[in-house]
């Protein structure tokens, strides 16, 4: 048996989207094999099929040389495949041993189980007290529970989904020691990451995915972080922009050493984010999902208040302490990533949804505390007409619209106010090509009329299409904003992998 797991011409289709396209790869026993790729490259879909949570549309998997179908995660565990998810599923109120016991098939002896947990966790350098209550543990310790839970089942293949995203550098170091030891014992590890340094340091083999396809299978020792970045991001994005005349004006939106503490175990802390957005330009923030984009949006929109007013300046006014409506009243407008439930109330009609973001800035909508349904309907009709929002009824519920049409409405609702500053998170996420073009054109047009536009996006094609300058966010830190024409795909890839991050405490000595 040369290979533990083989995927042969595996394709997975969701509707019209090919999430995995003719993927072929091989994992040897004892090998730490990285899957590298941007968001939406198909990494998650691929491991979900290996773990039995999804079924391939075509192609086959071989396990120890024999063709297998893996109908469920339980079946995968039976084969000897374990998986540690990025977000844990643990019961806070239960102890470590009780949480692990819940995942064990059949009957068990709590005392023996506790002993095994202590032994296995110590052997692998992941010390855990079986009687500790999960609620009292750090995120790193919680991850250990998940890992030990897998190890108790003596897996032959362990899948780790971005395990270091939630760890401190010291915890990450400890994890690498454990993984190296597991590999030494013959257990294969599939390691999903977009952090190039880690991959170079830890992995024996790298499969790089882009747009659902395997674009390369390389030895990380022979590659540089830069060459990996180029493979991950791809050389096919157009880096050449038609030169625009420089028509930038005064700074309209300024982030000055903005900080925001993390508000949950999986949240990202924003550190020293500084950025100027000037009148007439579109600045884009690129980055892999979950690196602080939603936190940054909340901080800029005012949904979360900042520690000092000077951290956020709109048109010269320090507004860090002011809420979202005060920021709107000075001419700012915001479009969040999530359309349903954040940007719009699903069960409200479009005209009712107009009131959501304009009740304080639009005098025609609210008169002496009363909502003017006529005023709201007027705005709604104007937006629907200007942005070609297609719908069934004259004033349908927001949830009945398609993603693209609702996005056109949500963006149009803000652009209709002619905002001086527009902040928009994921402007065309999950939107059809026609609607995406409409939205992008509207964003660029707004900037050319003298507004400052900040776009947060994970879509590099989109960013290069509309942005004048590009900054990259990684682990809550924002890089300098570079003119789009100066950025190569290699440089963006390196920034996405955290090249600009401030190095903090040196890594602990390897245990």
């Amino acid at each position: 048996m040369e290979y533990l797991l083989e995927a042969l011409h595996v394709t997975k289709v969701f509707g019209t989207l090919k999430a995995n396209d003719d993927v072929t790869l091989k994992v040897k026993p004892g090998e730490i094999h990285a899957f590298l790729g941007e968001n939406g490259a198909g990494k998650s879909t691929l491991v979900k099929m290996i773990y039995g949570a999804l079924q391939p549309t075509s192609g086959e998997f071989r396990w120890m040389g024999k063709p297998v179908t893996i109908p469920s995660p339980a079946a995968a565990r039976k084969l000897g495949i374990g998986m540690v998810f990025q977000h844990f599923s643990l019961f806070d109120a239960l102890t470590v041993a009780e949480n692990i016991a819940l995942a064990m098939p059949g009957a068990f002896d709590m005392k023996k189980l506790s002993e095994r947990i202590t032994r296995v966790s110590r052997d692998y350098g992941l010390p855990l007290a079986p009687t500790a209550v999960v609620a009292d543990l750090s995120v790193g310790e919680r991850q250990r529970i998940e890992i030990v839970r897998c190890l108790l089942q003596e897996p032959k293949l362990l899948i780790m989904d971005e395990p270091t995203a939630v760890l401190t550098p010291q915890e990450a170091d400890q994890l690498f020691v454990t993984l190296a030891r597991l590999a030494g014992e013959g257990c294969a590890v599939i390691y999903i990451s977009h952090r190039l340094e880690e991959v170079k340091r830890l992995c024996h083999n790298v499969t790089i995915l882009r747009h659902g396809k395997v674009v390369a299978n390389v030895d990380p020792e022979k590659e540089t972080a830069a060459s990996l970045a180029r493979l991950m991001v791809g050389g096919d994005i157009h880096v050449v922009k038609s030169a625009r005349e420089d028509q930038r004006g005064a700074t309209r939106l300024k982030l000055d050493h903005l900080r925001l503490p993390a508000d949950g175990p999986f949240a990202v802390e924003l550190r020293n984010v500084s950025l100027d957005v000037k009148a007439g330009e579109v600045v884009a923030i690129a980055g892999v999902a979950g690196n602080g984009q939603s936190e940054l949006f909340d901080a800029v929109s005012g949904e979360r208040s900042l520690a000092s007013a000077a951290m956020l300046v709109i048109d010269g006014k320090p507004m860090g302490h002011d809420g979202v409506n005060k920021r709107r009243n000075v001419g700012a407008a915001f479009v969040p990533e999530e359309r349903l439930g954040h940007g719009a109330v699903p069960g409200f009609t479009l005209s009712q949804n107009v009131v959501l973001t304009r009740h304080s800035s639009d005098e025609a909508l609210v008169k002496s505390g009363m909502v003017s349904s006529g005023g709201a309907a007027g705005v709604s009709q104007r937006v629907i007409k200007d942005f070609d929002v297609r719908k069934g009824k004259p004033d349908p519920e927001a949830r009945s619209l398609s993603g693209g049409n609702l996005q056109k409405f949500v963006v149009g609702r803000e652009l209709d106010r002619k905002p001086g500053v527009l902040v928009i998170n994921q402007p065309t996420w999950g939107v059809d090509a026609g609607a995406a073009a409409t939205v992008r054109q509207a964003i660029v047009d707004l900037a050319r009329q003298g507004s400052a536009v900040l776009v947060i996006s994970q879509d590099l094609d989109e960013i290069f299409e509309i942005a004048d300058r590009i900054a990259v966010i990684s682990r809550g830190q924002l890089s300098e904003a570079y003119p789009a024409s100066e950025l190569s795909s290699e440089k963006i890839g390196l920034l996405m992998a955290g090249a600009h991050e401030l190095k903090e405490t040196p890594h602990a000595a390897r245990a």
Partner: protein, 368 residues
């Protein structure tokens, strides 16, 4: 062959209207079965319980007396629940209002002027608000679960009431009964003739008018004002509420003070009319029954007014069943409980539909 709940694409408007009707029918059927098990003729028993209270002008007057506090509290709770603020302690806020308002006649028994009436009613509202402010504060400051704190505070204030009427506030000439002095003149609510004697006569007190005013005002607030919009957004889509710049903390305060104030008003109106003095049993559980009223009324203030009459019938039915059938008037509570159970069950059919599935899933897949 099995039965599953399947999520609907969007809420069913038909089920939203049908749900309370189906729930009432199922309650009647279940009630009939309970009566039959007790050896009573279910049809005559149900007649005594639900129809007889509507047959005389005196009992219609009683119906209004009982429906008024239910509508007043129920409308306030409906608004709170709509905004996802779960005040379960209206019974306690009712008691707190009754106590604070009664302080005037207890301490100044000879103070008699229209101002007495105004002061007592105002203190009633303030008492209810003050008691409701405790869970609101705890929720905002410490993130406590308002369902538990508001409910537990009911028992606290009821014991305070018990202590007051047995101790410091007891009527010295009351033969040691646990009561304050009886209220008189301006310490009681004025009555109005609703229907002339040639037909009725039916009298209502000021409390019924407050109830109608409160219901109409809240219905207007929810339907037309920005405040109502804010409350609805926070209830359906909290994230969108935050994006809209609405403060969750302020909403928690607003809902508790509103529903607590209305419960306090209902409490002081009870002691200023039906009861006529402060004593341990001032409410037959109006504050709890109003929760059912709010749900039966589809969390709509106008709906709560209609539902208040339905629940008021169950109280009167309980009393007449005690007289005519010799069964405990607690039967009313049983009916109310069954009704709430059926409403909540039927409400799940607004967002889900029942579906029969012929084939059992492959066990192998489940166990594997």
């Amino acid at each position: 062959m099995r039965l599953v709940l399947e999520k609907r694409a969007e809420a069913s408007g038909r089920m939203a209207i049908l749900s309370p009707i189906v729930a009432i029918l199922l309650t009647l059927v279940t009630g009939g079965i309970i009566f039959a098990l007790r050896g009573l003729n279910p049809f005559s028993a149900l007649y005594v319980f639900f129809v007889e209270p509507l047959t005389t002008s005196w009992s219609i007057e009683q119906l209004i007396v009982k429906a008024a506090p239910l509508a007043m509290i129920g409308a306030g709770l409906a608004v709170s629940y709509m905004a996802n603020v779960w005040n379960i302690g209206a019974e306690g806020q009712l008691t707190a209002g009754a106590i604070l308002g009664s302080a005037i006649p207890v301490f100044f028994p000879d103070f008699q002027s229209p101002l007495t009436l105004v002061l007592m009613l105002s203190l009633g509202v303030i008492g209810g608000m003050a008691w409701a402010a405790i869970p609101a504060f705890l929720k905002n400051r410490f993130g406590t679960n308002e369902i538990l704190t508001s409910l537990m505070l009911v028992y606290v204030i009821q014991l305070v009431l018990d202590w007051l009427v047995r101790g410091p506030w007891r009527d010295p000439k009351g033969y040691n009964f646990p009561k304050t002095i009886a209220f008189t003149d301006w310490q009681l609510l004025p009555q109005f003739q609703l229907i002339p004697p040639s037909i009725g006569p039916i009298y209502v007190n000021l409390g019924a008018i407050f109830a109608v005013v409160a219901v109409l005002a809240l219905a207007f607030m929810m339907g037309r004002t920005l405040k109502g919009y804010e409350l609805r957004v926070q209830g359906i889509a909290p994230r969108a509420g935050r994006f809209s710049g609405f403060s969750r903390e302020k909403t928690v305060w607003f809902c508790f003070l509103l529903s607590g104030g209305l419960a306090g008003l209902a409490g002081i109106c009870e002691v200023m009319s039906t009861v006529g003095q402060l004593q341990p049993g001032i409410s037959p559980g109006y504050g709890f029954t109003a929760i059912i009223v709010a749900f039966l009324g589809r969390l709509n203030p106008i709906g709560a007014l209609v539902a208040a009459f339905a629940l008021a019938i169950s109280y009167l039915g309980g009393e007449s069943a005690q007289v005519a059938l010799g069964i405990s008037d607690k039967t009313a509570r049983v009916f109310q409980g069954i009704l709430l159970f059926y409403i909540l069950a039927c409400d799940s059919l607004i967002l889900y539909r029942l579906k029969f599935i012929g084939r059992t899933p492959k066990l192998a897949e489940v166990k594997a």
